[in-house]
Symmetry: C2
Subunit: 386 residues, 2 copies
């Protein structure tokens, strides 16, 4: 998050947040549709989650080993995420996805890893979207397919041959700046069938989507269960935590690989995560997030149309990407976001956004009202922008 | 930290900590000489640090971008760590060391990275101490030297030739289970001279030692400054944080490489880190930690001698490794630790230990009294153990 990469008009430094709102250091408040780029799923500073985390924090967070919350959370994940027979804990989404690949290689004794072209799986050399400072060998055993394209997957599997360790898939296609796609059932089943036939690992990158789409795992929506999955972002409503879940087949690999980090057993984030999952279950979280996302999408597209624009929201409603239909250089998108920011709504036009349970109907309607004024301003300045 | 890897007699789950003491889930209290494997440098739940972190936590930790603490901490690190012209923030020590290597490659346009044989720089495929799930290509551009052995360094530099990107050095030699060594001035200068001559990066892994030995950087003690350095562990007294510091030469590389993580801009750990450094400066931290470590080492070795054992503590007094002189299978070491645990003192016999500012003279003396009784018990059972 380089300051240089933040578009003009965006606040660069933040002071705090509450519910669906964030506040910048200049005291301006925004209805937040980024949710800290995913972590905030219940709203900023959710009282029950904060209380759970602070109960452990008051006793001590980073100790000489894990707290009881490591066991409680592992059991909670195994009870909730349907493919999971065990769990391990880390800090970053990149940690989780790197460890999934290491586990797949350890468990299969093979090396080739298939990833979708353009997919984001983390910011470390084997998967970084940038090649600056990365060597060719860091990517030596990667092969590529196109998301939702079965024949490209078949070809990559054939190329890997007997050395296929893993097929790594995002929960849905969420490449930066590209119209989002949900996985097709046929594609998901093809990936599962290849892994079953070849004893390879199907690895689900549920870092971005996890807990928003389906508490049982995001590919439950297409009826397919992975062998290994990576979680982070929303798992603890902003407390730093990542997790790998695995099935029994990869338990031995999980016992063998060496992964560790100084803060991975901090108890407060795990206590937070247990509470987050309880609340999402109690509140029927994914269904409410989808409803909130649909209300938001309908409002935005309707408002756009009223002011003479065509805007699409793609991907799951709870994690929507907003794009003008004819805006190849995203000048309209950026201009709309600037106008919305000036009216107290924090949107994004290249990266997907995130809804939270704090995005109630009244909050969304308040945001939509400001967004409608933003489209009106954009319509007035259309010639200047386009 | 697998339960299976914890020696018999060690508690596996912890409930809390305060000052120099930790408490396990069975209610037993221990004087803690692991300090959470390094992070705790002021004592568990240090009041000023907790207050600083919670002030931000009360407003919101994980927001849509950094808080002001990112700027304050970067300025504090640049003012404190003498080679540093800039800083970036992460979560794990492995993040920091991986990013140092990426920065070295980006800044030099070369690939070869020299590391000491047996050195620990993290738990990711390029540097993990385990090869399980790791491919040969993950290590393709690593070359090895022996710590403190200039001719082995010269040979590795020659082998890298014009492709030398970095020499990576630990602050001191702290390989697991091996007698620790401080760097010699001649070795440090040789590493610096090679990097100067070849325009390569000297990378200091200060993750384990950082802030305990010298606030200006651990190699200030031998008069050598790195180009890049990795920090984590003690930086925020247990709050999860890592940092990379770099000099002006690598600023452009720092602006180019792609590194990001969902929780890296959390404000609370950064507020904690600013306070930690202030307190270490005010309290003359490194000198007091060295004095505490010397008191501990003299007490332990004296107690050992009184009971007929020879025990050495190696490495910097603030981060000592305790070994029996004739104990190749560490049975004596393990037995001593068990006896000490039974008397309320948490030691380690293979991994180095860590002192904190909460290890006052009276706390150390209380621990030494229990350790003396542990040696006495060991002497009574010597035949059974050895």
């Amino acid at each position: 998050m380089r300051a240089a990469a933040v578009p003009a008009g965006y606040p660069q430094f933040f002071a705090g947040g509450e519910g669906a709102r964030v506040r910048d250091v200049d005291g301006r408040s925004y209805i937040d549709f980024m949710c800290s780029w995913g972590p905030i799923i219940l709203g900023h500073r959710h009282a029950e989650v904060e209380a759970a985390a602070r109960a452990q924090l008051d006793a001590g967070d980073c100790l000489d080993g894990p707290t009881e919350h490591a066991v409680v959370l592992a059991e909670k994940l195994v009870a909730t995420i349907l493919h999971a027979d065990w769990a391990l804990f880390q800090k970053n989404g990149s940690d989780a996805m790197t460890t999934c690949v290491t586990l797949a290689r350890a468990g299969t004794g093979r090396r080739k890893v298939l990833v979708a072209r353009g997919a984001y799986h983390g910011a470390v050399p084997w998967c970084s979207p940038s090649l600056i400072g990365v060597t060719a060998e860091d990517r030596a055993h990667l092969l590529h397919f196109t998301y939702n394209d079965i024949s490209s997957l078949d070809a990559a599997v054939a190329e890997a041959g007997e050395d296929l360790a893993a097929i790594v898939v995002s929960a849905f296609r969420h490449d930066l700046g590209v119209r989002q796609e949900l996985p097709t059932r046929a594609f998901a089943q093809a990936a599962r069938a290849h892994c079953d036939r070849l004893n390879a690992a199907l690895v689900l990158d549920d870092v971005r989507a996890g807990f928003r789409l389906n508490l049982g795992g995001s590919w439950e929506n297409v009826g397919v269960r992975p062998d290994l999955a990576g979680y982070s972002k929303a798992i603890a409503n902003g407390w730093p935590l990542a997790a790998v879940t695995g099935n029994a087949r990869f338990r031995a690999a999980g016992e063998q690989v060496f992964v560790t980090g100084s803060f991975w057993y901090g108890g407060a984030p795990m206590a937070a995560a247990v509470k987050v999952i309880e609340i999402l279950e109690r509140e029927n979280g994914p269904a409410r997030l989808e409803a909130a996302g649909k209300r938001f999408a309908e409002g935005v597209t309707g408002s756009a149309a009223r002011h003479g624009f065509e805007v699409s929201l793609s991907g799951p409603p709870a994690i929507p990407l907003m794009q003008f239909n004819d805006d190849p250089d995203v000048r309209l998108g950026e201009a709309l976001c600037r106008e919305a920011l000036a009216r107290g709504v924090y949107l994004h036009n290249k990266h997907n956004m995130f809804l939270s349970l704090a995005h109630t109907d009244s909050v969304i309607d308040e945001a939509l009202d400001a967004i409608d004024k933003a489209f009106a301003a954009l319509a007035r300045n259309r010639t200047a922008v386009a």
